[in-house]
Amino acid sequence: MKRQTMYLRMITSSLVRRRSRLLVALLAVAIGATILSGLVTIYYDVPRQLGQEFRSYGANLILVPAGDEPSIDRDTAQRAVDLIPKDEVVGIAPYRYETLKINEQPTVVAGTDLEGVQKASPYWFITGEWPTSSKSVLIGQEVADLIRLTPGSSLTLNGTGAEGQAVSANFTVSGIVQTGGTEEAFVFMALADLEAMMGDSGKLNVVECSISADQDDLDKIVKNISNNVEEVSPRLVKRVTESEGTVLTKLQALVYLVTVVVLLLTMICVATTMMAVVAERRKEIGLKKALGASNKSIVIEFLGEGLFFGALGGLLGSGLGFLFAQVVSMNVFTRAISFQPLLIPVTVVVSIAITGLACLLPVRSATDVDPAIVLRGE
């Protein structure tokens, strides 16, 4: 039999036949590895989760005409939009604003892509329904209060068209919008309806973009658009992007801190258990030394046991950690988390390293055992 085979036989026999004590250490490592793996999963998934969460607060990038131009050409706007990576686009809402009158009251009317608005501004609260056909409009809460309109009411918009001609059209109110912002003073309709009423098309005043990307990626997009589409001035909505960055930094710092604390606690728990194991096995260590075991052999055996359950705990922890992260993600973000296969070897290696470090002191004390004293039963 090879020495390595006997070594493994001794290690596994010790682990299997003395499992009650080592189960405590294994549990400590597994819990530590679970928290580590779970928090690291969350750490790396938080930007994505938080990004999606922040997307419900509306656009984080707007495209406005460059210089003194009053509007952007629709094709030009499309060229700018095309520079945003497709997989990062949550919603795009182009807007054309015109001032028209309702019952002689001047009101800002916005023509837009109503489906795009629903994606880019999911926080809008609608009483009634989103318009599903032409000649249907959403009106802001302020407009509804002023003119006393409710969903299903009719309203007539009139004003001056693109060529200076008088224009007038009837619409049905499909819903009333509440945002807590300036939108409550506007009327929203399909861009095609507004263009038909005004008698021209292809002009946009602003394009609101909701993009799932971090601050660095957004900066790159802004730079790219600025460099390639001169007629458009891209601007980040700092209120949203900076809040996202701040929350993200604080969350990641918290996760980092908790991970370090958990790892330290794991080390203390493993070290304490190993100390107890060494104390409990002083006679065995003494016997082995009496039989001729060198200090190196004793260290290798105890370290082997420690590293074995370090690896086992790490493996258990990487699986349980994903479940832990999934539960946290579902409860906090109500979204599933993505599995990171690389985390398995990382968790196992970290667990082995932590266990190894935790074992150093107890194993060192094992070499101090005097065989003569132990065998006398003192």
């Binding site: 039999m1 090879k2 020495r3 085979t5 006997m6 070594y7 036989r9 001794m10 026999s13 010790s14 299997v16 036949r17 003395r18 006679k283 065995e284 016997l287 082995k288 030394k289 009496a290 039989l291 001729g292 075991a293 060198s294 200090n295 052999s297 005097d370 065989p371 003569a372 065998l375 006398r376 039963g377």
Partner: protein, 225 residues
């Protein structure tokens, strides 16, 4: 030819003189007993002979080499290569089977050999119990495993501390028979014991009192063997 020589050995712990000027020669193949009341220095002497402790003064010559100035590591090597230890408490590793307990001694010495370890257990009548854990063995059986472990590396000196101290009469007889066989095979044996009957089995008995050799009894002459 002497296998072991103790020359003017003293061991002092603080103000306590555990051993004083011990001189003793043990020849190759001899069976020697060491007796004495508690505190007479038996354990200290066994530890020094067994390379688990060093004398304060004097020299220990084992197999022609002075080992009294050896480092802890050197003593570990000597213990592993030249001495087989048998304990009153057996000191088997609880999570290893009888066979594995014997193989542990091989593991630290050179190369584990399952067949040879099984043969050693066979020689002490435990071939059938090789796969049993110590908790599944009687005291006598555990002591026999301990003996098989002590013999497995063919040590030049067998050192036994109260080998029958924890055994009933029947098992004591079995163990003493094994010792007789070892002696017949030419092994050098030193047995520390309280039991005069056990001591009497040896060729000579050294009686210690207050850390000194009080007398040496030649059992063969006295019993007419």
């Amino acid at each position: 030819m002497n296998l072991l020589e103790l020359k003017d050995i003293s061991k002092i712990y603080g103000n306590v003189k555990a051993l004083q000027d011990i001189n003793l020669e043990v020849s190759q193949g001899e069976w020697l007993s060491i007796m004495g009341p508690s505190g007479s220095g038996k354990s200290t002497m066994m530890n020094i002979i067994g390379c688990m402790d060093k004398p304060s003064n004097g020299s220990v010559i084992l197999d022609g080499a002075d080992i009294s100035k050896e480092s802890a590591r050197g003593l570990t090597d000597i213990r592993r290569d030249k001495i087989g230890l048998i304990f009153q408490q057996f000191h088997l590793i609880s999570y290893l089977t009888a066979l594995e307990n014997v193989m542990v001694a091989q593991y630290y010495h050179s190369m584990p050999d399952e067949k040879e370890a099984l043969e050693a257990l066979d020689r002490v009548g435990l071939g059938e119990r090789a796969k049993h854990l110590p908790s599944q063995l009687s005291g006598g059986e555990q002591q026999r495993v301990c003996i098989a472990r002590a013999l497995i590396n063919y040590p030049m000196l067998i050192l036994a501390d109260e080998p029958t101290g924890n055994l009933d009469e029947a098992n004591e007889s079995i163990v003493l028979d094994i010792f007789k066989q070892m002696h017949a095979d030419g092994r050098t044996i030193i047995v520390v014991t309280h039991d005069p009957e056990v001591a009497l089995q040896a060729q000579r008995t050294v009686v210690l009192e207050h850390g000194k050799v009080a007398r040496i009894i030649n059992n063969e002459q006295d019993t007419g063997r």
